[in-house]
Structures are given as structure tokens and as C-alpha cells.
Symmetry: C2
Subunit: 337 residues, 2 copies
């Protein structure tokens, strides 16, 4: 059972493929009446346009690639989900590649997508990626690039990012207002602008409150639970009574460390995480966290791609919202109002 082609339809109706093609594309060059007949026949014969042929002829695929470090992270899968709805709506197919945080895989992914003639690439680079050359040189001419979350500001394309600075500032200020005196941070990977910005927000909040910045309680290069635990331990030993963590998993580790030290949270130790993972509401104590909007980020990234002649280097920034929960709520709610 061969798939039906426009040539089949044309033969059936004593027309030419070109007319059929134009009819199905809704061109004004074919008479209303014949168009209806053609559409009817196409439906009847179960015609489905062969995208390979169409794309080949037109020189582009209506496919868009998305490159993320890991698809099975809550944040990224939600970004993808958001982008996918918008892109499907607009008639695009979505190709998804993971880099597993490896530069090598990122290069492979770019090349795969280019071979597939994608019309655009939405990318959040891997932790291993410290410079943007391979991205710049991969994306030539007719492929539109959009970066999200983890971005290189030097590339001339649209970007959608979290307002990491503002978020970290807000979280840290909150801890200060709660009366914590020695506030450290689990700062994450410094290869990523996102984490650098969070660190800056943290620092500025301390400065604005007239508090000292102590490098010995700024912990870098990790975002998982295990290292959150070990770095949390060290932080406690160095006298921290609060931490702003650039990730929720590391915050979780730090909470465990505090419990093990016999400290009560939030009375003796306060903490705010980032990302508002689903477990933050479930754990005990519940974890205060900065809420991101991954789905929204995905939608916006997709829209930035779709927008026809957007100005180069447009940057969309998404505010982060602090969800205050038990882990940092030392004063009663009334007092803080």
C-alpha cells in the first residue's frame, strides 16, 4: 500500500502535480472550484504531504531543534513542554537533543540538528561549555538561534533568561530580614552566567544591608544533594546560620546537614533554595524556594524564534518569585508584613 502523492491525485483528476500542489497550499492561482475538488480527493485518498520532499525543495525543514543538558530534569522538561506547544501550534516539528552536560555531546547535537535542516535551534548550553565558538560557527545564515536559561551574552540572538540577580537578591534579603546574621551561599557552577548572576544578587543584598561578604562561606561548583550536604556541613562549621542555595537539591542536602548537627530549622538555621522543585512543599520542613517559570520560558523562547524580524539580541527576562515556606520563616508572618 503505497502512500498517495500529489501526482496520484493529479492523475486521478486529470490535472498536473503543480496545480494540486498549489491547491493544497491554498494558492490564489487555482480556481476555488477545482481547489475544493482537489481537497476532497486528497482527503478521500488519504494524502499526507511528504515532508522530506517538501523540505528538500524549499531548502528548509519546518522543524526546530531544542538542546538541553538533560531532558529528565523538571526544569528543562517543562521548558521543552512549553516550547513544544507553541511550535506545534505553528506547524513546526520539534527535535530534542540532550548534551548530558558534555561539550562533546553539545557539538554532536548541533551537527545533528543542522543535518536535519532545522529552521531554528533553542539551546541551553551544558555546564562543560565555557565558550560559545562552536555555537556561533554552527549557526550560519538561515538558522535562527534562541538561547534560554544558560546563555552567552556575546552571541547576537534572542535570549530568554531568568532574572537570577533579582531572585537571589530577593531571597538573600528575605533571610536578612528574618534576622539571620551569617548568611552563606551554595552558589553553583561558575561556568554558567545564571549562577554567576545569582551570586552577584546574593552579594549585593549583603552589601546593601551593610553585611560583610565572606568568601569562605561561598561554595561553588556543585548543585546536587550530596555536595549540598558536605558543603552545608562546612558552612555550619564556619558559623553560618543561613544559606541561600542556587539549587533546591543542594539546599535539601544542607537541610540534612543541619538536622544531623541537631540544629532546628528555621529557628537556628534558615535556608532558601532555587527552582521550586516539587519536593520543596513535601519535605519537612517545607523548603522556601525561588520559583521559576520553565513552561513560560519555553513558550517565550519559541515565540522569539517565530517572531519574524525581531531585533537582534533581544533579551526577555523572567522574574523569579520567592515562595516563602517553613525553612526560612523564623519570624511570624505578622511581624514581617
Amino acid at each position: 500500500m503505497q502512500k498517495t502523492t500529489i501526482t496520484d491525485i493529479a492523475k486521478e483528476l486529470n490535472l498536473t502535480p503543480s496545480t494540486v500542489s498549489r491547491a493544497l497550499a491554498g494558492s490564489s492561482r487555482v480556481k476555488e472550484k477545482t481547489r475544493v475538488v482537489i481537497e476532497e480527493k486528497a482527503r478521500e485518498m488519504g494524502y499526507e504531504r511528504n515532508l522530506m520532499a517538501s523540505n528538500l525543495r524549499r531548502g528548509v525543514a519546518n522543524a526546530v531543534g531544542i538542546i538541553v543538558p538533560r531532558i529528565n530534569r523538571q526544569f528543562f522538561s517543562n521548558v521543552i513542554s512549553g516550547a513544544e506547544s507553541v511550535l506545534n501550534e505553528a506547524g513546526y516539528t520539534v527535535l530534542i537533543c540532550q548534551t548530558h552536560e558534555k561539550l562533546e555531546d553539545e557539538k554532536k547535537a548541533l551537527s545533528t540538528l543542522l543535518r536535519n535542516q532545522v529552521a531554528g535551534i533553542l539551546i541551553s548550553h551544558s555546564i562543560e561549555t565555557s565558550e560559545e565558538n562552536h555555537i556561533a560557527q554552527a549557526v550560519t545564515g538561515d538558522v535562527r538561534l534562541v538561547q534560554f536559561d544558560r546563555v552567552f551574552y556575546d552571541l547576537p540572538d534572542a535570549k530568554v533568561v531568568n532574572d537570577n540577580y533579582q531572585g537571589a537578591y530577593q531571597a538573600t534579603s528575605h533571610l536578612i530580614r528574618q534576622g539571620y546574621k551569617r548568611i552563606g551561599t551554595l552558589a553553583g557552577y561558575m561556568t554558567s552566567e545564571a549562577y554567576k548572576e545569582r551570586l552577584e544578587g546574593y552579594k549585593q543584598a549583603l552589601r546593601d544591608a551593610g553585611m560583610e561578604i565572606d568568601d569562605s562561606i561561598i561554595f561553588k561548583d556543585t548543585i546536587v544533594k550530596e555536595t549540598g550536604y558536605s558543603q552545608g556541613m562546612i558552612a555550619l562549621e564556619r558559623g553560618c546560620d543561613a544559606l541561600y542555595s542556587a539549587g533546591d537539591f543542594s539546599a535539601l542536602g544542607a537541610v540534612e546537614a543541619a538536622k544531623e548537627k541537631g540544629l532546628s530549622v528555621p529557628e537556628e538555621f534558615g535556608i532558601v533554595g532555587t527552582a521550586n522543585e516539587n519536593f520543596t512543599e513535601i519535605m519537612s520542613p517545607t523548603l522556601s524556594s525561588l520559583e521559576l517559570s520553565p513552561n513560560r520560558m519555553g513558550r517565550l523562547a519559541a515565540e522569539a524564534f517565530l517572531r519574524p524580524c525581531t531585533e537582534e539580541n533581544e533579551i526577555v527576562t523572567l522574574k523569579m518569585e520567592l515562595k516563602t515556606r517553613e525553612s526560612s520563616q523564623r519570624l511570624s508572618k505578622i511581624n514581617t508584613k
Copy 2:
């Protein structure tokens, strides 16, 4: 800056496109020496095979589609992740579609994938999907189908499923051994074979223990936290002292219900969930749960697709492993050994 084609390379070397094509495909019909020269030139000119053209000519794309209800569910994103590694390794591109649990979207996804000439489709059908006709008729001749997790056994293709029956049986038996006397179940959606099987496993465990099966404490058609809470409430009112839940989120809701009723877990109320979501270890009390192997399932589904002439209707079953945690561990560990 036009992309280089095999014709460009051919001209440059005074050869024909066919020779270049064969050389790059590693055909034995071209001399070793010229192949090296061609490969060299191809690299030098930055050649990348145009997949649109290649696929068109060969009649298939080396792309595989994956259809899941939701990409941002821990379980499915891990399945995808597993499948993707295997498929990428084998030179396939992966197209991902979500159905949002809607039949309409599922049909759309199938049609999208077929238009893209995918070589195969890995699918886990939506909750709304109660029969398999649209899948059967979509997948004609040369498209290989593999179902995973939620499957229709009537379709003649490879399947990868969890051993739901065994898992539920194991979980329920565990609750029985712990001395719970009136064990209900949050059974999930009956449109899915997976949940039906879990229900059967639950029933059989009760039967084998000589316990009565009471339909009034078998709750159906829900897997989220909110309904877990409300159904949990009813279960408690009907005298349940334990529940096997076919999902972790509904189990979470039931735990909340028990807490609200002032019952201590696991002393007065025991519960086991399913899926081993990441929050099960984090919540308090920690939640016993049946562990699935989504990544493994993805890999196996991909391998089933790749396997050349596998027997039709091959079914791979993955054992579920009970992770015993606080929520069901009423007897001391020593006693249960």
C-alpha cells in the same frame, strides 16, 4: 555561504556525485585510495549530508518518533532519555510528541510523525485512549511500532511493560505481612491495562492471604494528590488501615488525609505507592513505593525497535522492586526477616 553538496565535492575532484555518495557511505565499489581523498575533501569543505534529500531518495527517514502523554513527568522523561541514548547511538534522530492525555492530540501526533517519514514510533497511549484502531491504521507497512508502559495487547508489535501485577501483588503482600487488616487501593484509571493489572495483583494478594475483597475500598479513576486525599479520607472512614496506591502522588494525598485524621503512619495506617518518585525519600514519613525503571524501559523499547527481524508481538516485562520505607514498616526489620 551555500552548504556544500556531494556535487560540489565531485566537481572539485573531477568525480561524479555517485562516486562521492558511495565513498561517503563506505561502499566497497569505490577504491580505498579515492575514498580517503573524498573523505578528506568532504571534511575540508565542511560537508554535511542533507538528510532531507537522503531520506527522500531512500524513502525513510532515520528518525524515530516517541509519543508520550506528558514529557514533563519524571517517568516519561526518563523513558525518553533512555530511548534517546540508544537511538542516537544507532544514528537515529528522535522526534517527541506529547498527547496531554488527549486522544485528539494523539491522533495529531501520529499523523505528524508519519508525515515526517519516521522509521518507527514508540508510544505510550493517553488516558483518553480506550481503543487502538487509530494506532493500528496509522502504522502501516514500513513503520515499526513499539508500545511501552501503557499498551494494547491486541496490536501485533513489540511491547515493553512493567510487571504491574507482580509489583502490586508484592506491595499488597508486604502490607499483609505487616499485619494490616483492612487494605484498600487507590487503583488509578481503568482505561489503562497497567492500572488494571495492578488492581488484579492487589486482589490476588488478598485472595491468597484469605482476605476478603471489598469493592467499597477500591477507588478508581484518579492518580493525583488531590483525589488521593479525598479518596483516602473516604477509605479511612470506611475503616481501612492500609492502602496500596497505584501512584505516588495519590499516596501522598492519602498520607495527608491520615495525618489530618490524627492517625500515625505507619503504626495506625500503612501505605505503599507506585513509581518511586523522587519525593518519596524526602517526605515525612518516607513513602514505601514500587520502583520502576523508566530509563531501562526506554532503552529496551528503542532496542526492540532496532532489532531487525524480531518476532512479532514480543513482550518484555520489567520487574518492579518494592522499596520499603517508613510509611509501611510497622514491624521492626528484624521481625520481618
